[in-house]
């Protein structure tokens, strides 16, 4: 601990903190622009200047290390004048005529900082140099005219996402923010994670979906977990007048610290599937609008129970819904098949191994944030579970090595030191050979080198996904455990959908085999059913579908019940980490629609089934692959 004074106040700070951090901890506000808590301090804008006793000139507090005995002043006239001067220079560098800027009126950090300083105007006129606006990207507009050259976007794209799309061309006043080697943004290597638009303090990067839809002062916030995959990123869903405006990553979230991928940020707002708003019941061969009561009657008549009944639920639904689903169909109705659309592909083999070991064997996702060697098995973290991929990709510049084992095209492999061929079904032979390579040489150069790389690593991690879990048998997993032990490697299983692991914990992971089933109950929520499932269900005489959207499956069903989509429901999710997090309702439920949970209760009531609301015990009683944590 060191001691220093800030504005006369004595404070203690950890060694290694900056003056800015020390000031913030002491509750002293110092304005910043280029600084962002998630980025390495940069010291570019000079707005954060403070007076330090003994120093001849003002110092940027965001990069200045706090030292013992330091006396800092943040609000002397000299500091205040410097701030105004810095802001004046920034304003006059480009076009900051706020009256035609999207972020003006609360959403611009530059404007807000000028207001804080009481600037009614500035004395320098801009140099009237226009820059071209790049609107080629589907989700963002890049407007260099509003750019303050703080490089937050460039640093975020590199340091946080590991994508290195953004950079600057030219120097000084001519500096131009460009994608790749100045190609149109929409044709660049950008993966649409949106971190740059979220971190930009000004109107230089604009979010197309929410542009002019509502400012910070006009929107409501709903902070909860993303339900698009099992990474479980925390996000903020912004709404206004019951409309989705924008989705942002939560900077304070320990897991994703502000990051999201396109699936979590932009794509949910692009959903234009036809919404179901009324129950439908098949009459004389065609589906007709019906009341909920009619639908309940039809279900009571046709659903049946026992072996001939198949029940399938989406792993995008909350644990509460899945547990209730199990209680109705497995416990009460004794259905022959009770499973999920995911069929346990990403979890079943691993869960069995955990049961056999009697303890978890996988590690937290956090180990991917600090590793020097990663072995990825049949998993493309550029395509799926992307934020976990960012954790890996962003370390590569610092020397983290990557070995990618896959049998098909894999974009993560572009960054790999070694790419090993692992065809689906060959897991046993592959792992046996890899194990051999960690013990002796195998003579296969790539294997030997990859094994050596992993052996020499201090914090190796082996990460695998559905492709691997779906094919690996007990023997393969045993070999994997041996390899991990001999390398001292952590194991991370990414699982599948948002509640993939919870479904596994509930034992809902049987493969969907339709053979002679008389009826089926499909709880889709807002999940789009696969063609394969549509085909499989064609053989079933009576199908009940719970769905937010119309699809081929609902078109073929005999009873269709309209249920909520992700933004209209709340509930608990268990991510790949075993971390239990809440999703929160952001939109009102349309009239005539129920949540899947309410629908299940309604059905139970009409069938006079006793249900059990306790989901927590059920979801935690099975030995998990990774320790379960309540957050």
């Amino acid at each position: 601990m060191i001691k220093l004074t800030i504005d006369g106040k004595e404070i203690e700070a950890q060694e290694g903190t900056t003056v800015l951090e020390a000031a913030e901890a002491a509750g002293v506000f110092v304005p910043t622009l280029c600084h962002h808590p998630q980025l390495t301090p940069y010291g570019g804008c000079r707005l954060c200047m403070v007076e330090v006793e003994g120093a001849g000139t003002l110092q940027p507090s965001c990069t200045l290390p706090a030292t013992n005995g330091m006396a800092v002043k943040t609000n002397t006239q000299k500091v205040l004048d410097a701030r105004k001067f810095v802001l004046t220079l920034i304003f006059s560098e480009r076009n900051h005529f706020c009256m035609y800027c999207q972020v003006s009126g609360g959403d611009c950090e530059l404007q807000n900082r000028a207001y804080d300083e009481g600037m009614t105007h500035w004395d320098l006129q801009p140099n009237w140099q226009p820059f071209e606006v790049d609107a080629s990207h589907p989700f963002m507009v890049l407007d260099n005219n509003r750019c303050i050259l703080c490089r937050r976007c460039v640093r975020a794209c590199g340091e946080l996402v590991g994508n290195y799309t953004l950079g600057f061309e030219e120097r000084g006043a001519d500096s131009l923010l460009v994608a790749d080697y100045n190609v149109p943004f929409g044709e660049s290597s950008c993966i649409s994670c949106g971190t740059c638009v979220q971190i930009c303090p000004t109107g230089a990067i604009i979010d197309r979906q929410s542009a002019y839809q509502g400012k910070e002062t006009e929107v409501d916030h709903h902070i909860g977990v993303c339900v698009e995959c099992s990474v479980g990123c925390q996000r903020d869903v912004l709404t206004r007048d019951n409309r989705l405006i924008r989705i942002e990553g939560e900077w304070d979230a320990v897991l994703n610290h502000g990051l999201l991928c396109d699936k979590g940020r932009f794509l949910p707002l692009e959903d234009d599937r036809a919404r179901l708003l009324t129950p439908l019941v098949r009459k004389d061969g065609s589906l007709k609008a019906a009341t909920w009561d009619d639908a309940m009657k039809a279900i009571a008549e046709g659903l049946g129970k026992g072996k001939g009944l198949a029940a399938i639920a989406s792993t995008r639904l909350p644990i509460e819904d899945l547990a209730l689903f199990k209680s109705v169909f497995a416990d009460a109705l004794q259905a022959g098949l009770v499973t999920t659309l995911e069929e346990g592909k990403a979890t079943a083999s691993l869960a069995k191994m955990a049961e056999k070991l009697g303890k978890p064997f996988e590690s937290n996702l956090d180990v991917l944030k600090d590793t020097d060697a990663v072995l990825s098995l049949e998993l493309d973290l550029v395509d799926e579970h992307q934020v976990a991929g960012f954790f890996v990709k962003r370390q590569i510049a610092d020397g983290t090595k990557l070995v990618v084992a896959d049998g098909k095209g894999n974009k993560l492999a572009e960054n790999a030191s070694f790419k090993l061929d692992l065809k689906a079904g060959d897991e046993n032979a592959f792992l046996a050979k890899l194990y051999e390579a960690t013990q002796n040489e195998t003579g296969d150069e790539d294997f030997d080198k990859a094994a050596k790389l992993l052996k020499n690593a201090k914090k190796p991690v082996i990460v695998y996904g559905e492709g691997f879990a779906a094919h690996a048998d007990e023997k393969a997993l045993e070999t994997l455990l041996e390899i991990s032990e001999s390398l001292g490697a952590e194991l991370v299983g990414v699982k599948g959908n948002a509640n993939s692991m919870a479904a596994s914990q509930l034992g809902l992971e049987a493969p969907i085999k339709v053979n002679g089933h008389k009826s089926a109950f499909v709880m889709l929520g807002d999940e789009e059913p696969s063609q394969k499932l549509v085909k499989q269900l064609e053989e079933v005489p009576f199908v009940v579908a719970l769905s937010a959207y119309g699809s081929q499956l609902t078109g073929n069903a005999d009873v269709v019940l309209p249920v909520t989509m992700w933004a209209e429901q709340s509930g608990t999710y268990m991510n790949m980490d075993g971390r239990m997090q809440k999703a929160v309702q952001a939109l009102e439920i349309p009239e005539g629609v129920l949540t899947s949970r309410e629908t299940l209760l309604k059905i139970s009531e009409s069938l006079s089934i006793e249900t059990d609301a306790d989901w927590k015990t059920k979801v935690t009683s099975r030995t998990p692959t990774v320790e379960i944590k309540e957050v």
Partner: protein, 162 residues
């Protein structure tokens, strides 16, 4: 024109001051022997605006720039990015609403277009009240303060450019 946004409160202001000249009263210019407060709306877009600004500066003890155009140049300043000639060409000749005869007016009586400037680029300004449009409450507050011989403080909730 934002001045009129203060609605009937304008009567309270009129009671407090001796209103000398406005663009819509008989007297268009402040008295030659000077007035206490002069308010300018709009940026300096041509030689005529320049003359007015200078005259106002000479005759007003306190010169106020009201609105983003007067304070920063405002929306008309967008034309600075393309230049006056291109802006005229676009407006009088190329614009979709013009017929084929469209041409740029060129009477010697017309003022000469210049680069659009904030008032403070041409003459010193004592008080800046930004806003696009400036908020009626802020205008009222500022006028009442000025009328009572105080300089209004444009800050915190009273400060927004847009």
């Amino acid at each position: 024109m934002s001045l009129l946004d203060i609605d009937e409160r304008i009567l309270q202001v009129v009671e407090l001051v001796d209103l000398r000249a406005t663009p819509i009263t008989d007297l268009k210019e402040p008295d030659e022997d000077g007035v206490t407060v002069g308010i300018l709306e709009g940026g300096i877009n041509n030689t005529y605006n320049e003359e007015i600004a200078k005259k106002m500066r000479e005759r007003c003890k306190i010169l106020v720039a009201l609105g983003d155009c007067a304070v920063f140049g405002g929306v008309p300043a967008m034309r600075n990015f393309v230049g006056a000639d291109a802006a005229l060409q676009r407006a009088y000749v190329e614009a979709e609403s013009n017929d084929s005869e469209g041409k740029i007016p060129s009477s010697p009586e017309l003022a000469q277009m210049t680069r659009v400037r904030a008032v403070s680029e041409v003459v010193p300004v004592d008080l800046f009240i930004p806003g696009c449009p400036p908020d009626a409450d802020v205008i009222f507050y500022a006028l009442v303060e000025l009328a009572q011989g105080r300089i209004p403080e444009i800050k915190n909730k009273n400060l927004h450019w847009h």
